[in-house]
């Protein structure tokens, strides 16, 4: 009966050994080469014009397959040691930090946010899940550059809101009942950061992203800026090297597990990757899950990145910042940029990376 067991154990130990994880450094595999890699570089790294600032301007491109670096290139001032601004990738990072708090049992998805952040009592119906879906119903204007006078996000980061961003958000009126409609909002993300402060307490809070997430993953040089009340600017201001951001990607690719430790509950990652039901087709550039973007079709519309597998999901930020995760391809891609004209296309990059890594 136990005849097969030693062989079984041997096989198990082989599979465990075969799985690559970064220690202090990333393992590297032979670099991918060939015409498909040249096609990828032709797209991602065209000649850069710093006067016009037109076109695709990639600062970093890092491809990790099976837990090993297979491609890495930097542009302009950025190097492997640069903690690059991630802009709205920060939102997905905060969701990952919150996932650890969720695993500690510090909150439930249907908890009212006002339970942790009483300033929000003007909006008592908003639940944690609603913020995570960008569905608070708060009347927020996210436009960055085209409506500067009315932009809630510009006012939050630079003028009326920068001292206390969560309170600035809470002070807005509603336009819809909580949990019903999607409207992308940096304010929603910063309310999450404010709620976290009560959950973990003011003593643990300033170090919590490090103790909960960055340290266990071996991320040594992260910066996360706060507002004047010490609340993390979860919407915009986390800085990581490309290699360190890829560690978050690998954690997500492997369902919240890091080596033999289940850092995020699997149900948390499943929530991140579940499309929000209140999203209408083409409301945004991809389908929102729980503070992550999904390559899923909504209401019969084509999926946002048709050349990438349907299980592709991403953290996306202003000016072309992106962390793509494709579990079915065992692939993590970090792309930092300084795109000022919006000509960069996620689908085109994904298509060319897939072409370069597939045998």
């Amino acid at each position: 009966m136990f005849k097969g067991l030693p062989l079984f154990l041997l096989l198990i130990s082989f599979t465990v050994q075969a799985e690559q994880w970064p220690g202090e450094q990333w393992p590297t595999a032979p670099k991918i080469t060939g015409p498909a890699v040249e096609a990828l570089e032709a797209y991602a790294f065209p000649a850069r014009d710093d006067n016009t600032r037109l076109g695709i301007r990639t600062d970093a491109l890092l491809v990790v397959r099976d837990g090993q670096i297979v491609y890495e290139r930097y542009g302009a001032a950025t190097t492997a040691d640069t903690p690059h601004l991630t802009w709205s990738i920060s939102k997905s990072l905060m969701a990952t930090v919150m996932g650890v708090a969720y695993g500690e049992g510090l909150f439930k998805l249907d908890d009212p946010v006002a339970k942790f952040y009483p300033v929000l009592e003007k909006h008592p119906a908003i639940k944690m899940a609603d913020l995570l879906h960008w569905a608070s119903g708060i009347d927020w204007q996210e436009d960055y550059e085209y409506a500067p006078l009315k932009s809630s996000v510009v006012a939050m980061l630079y003028t009326r809101g920068h001292r206390d961003m969560a309170a600035f958000t809470a002070d807005h009126d509603s336009y819809a009942p909580a949990g019903q409609a999607f409207r992308y909002s940096s304010g929603d993300s910063n309310l999450l950061a404010a709620a976290l402060k009560t959950m973990v307490g003011p003593q643990r809070y300033p170090d919590y992203p490090w103790t909960a997430l960055f340290d266990p993953l071996g991320i040594r040089h992260a910066t996360w800026e706060t507002d004047a009340t010490g609340t993390f600017v979860a919407s915009s201001y986390a800085y990581l090297t490309a290699r360190d951001l890829a560690r978050i990607g690998l954690l997500m690719e492997r369902n919240g597990r890091w080596n033999d430790r289940q850092l995020l509950p699997e149900e948390w990652v499943a929530f991140n990757r579940q499309p929000f039901g209140g999203y209408k087709a083409d409301q945004d550039e991809a389908v929102p899950g729980g503070q992550w973007w999904l390559n899923r079709s909504a209401e019969g519309a084509p999926s946002p990145w048709p050349d990438a597998p349907p299980d592709t999901f991403a953290a996306l930020g202003h000016w072309g910042q992106a962390l793509y995760v494709i579990p079915s391809e065992r692939l993590v891609i970090v792309r930092y940029g300084d795109d000022r004209d919006g000509s960069y296309r996620h689908n085109e990059l994904l298509k060319r990376v897939l072409g370069a890594v597939r045998p």
């Binding site: 950025t78 040691d81 601004l85 996360w224």
Partner: protein, 100 residues
Amino acid sequence: MKLFRRLLLVLFVVLLGWGWHERENLWAFPDIISAYTAKEYCSCRYVMNNDAEYCRGYVKQWLPAELTDNAAQKLVSASGMGRINSAQWQGERQGCRLNP
């Protein structure tokens, strides 16, 4: 002519009403350029550790801003549209923050 004056008056009243309605946004608006420049230059220079020349190009906007970088204190001030704002580096983990 009478009609024209009346139209002008109506337009003026509408403008006044809009200005009152948007008074908070209008008052805050001129701060955007200098606050953006001070904060993002500070982070470009002292968080991302890019060189000064690169960071000046990085924060360049369609409206001009004057920038002063006190490297010893990692304190960055910027002025534009008649307003001045400054940002201060706080530490390795906290990065830069606009001064109140």
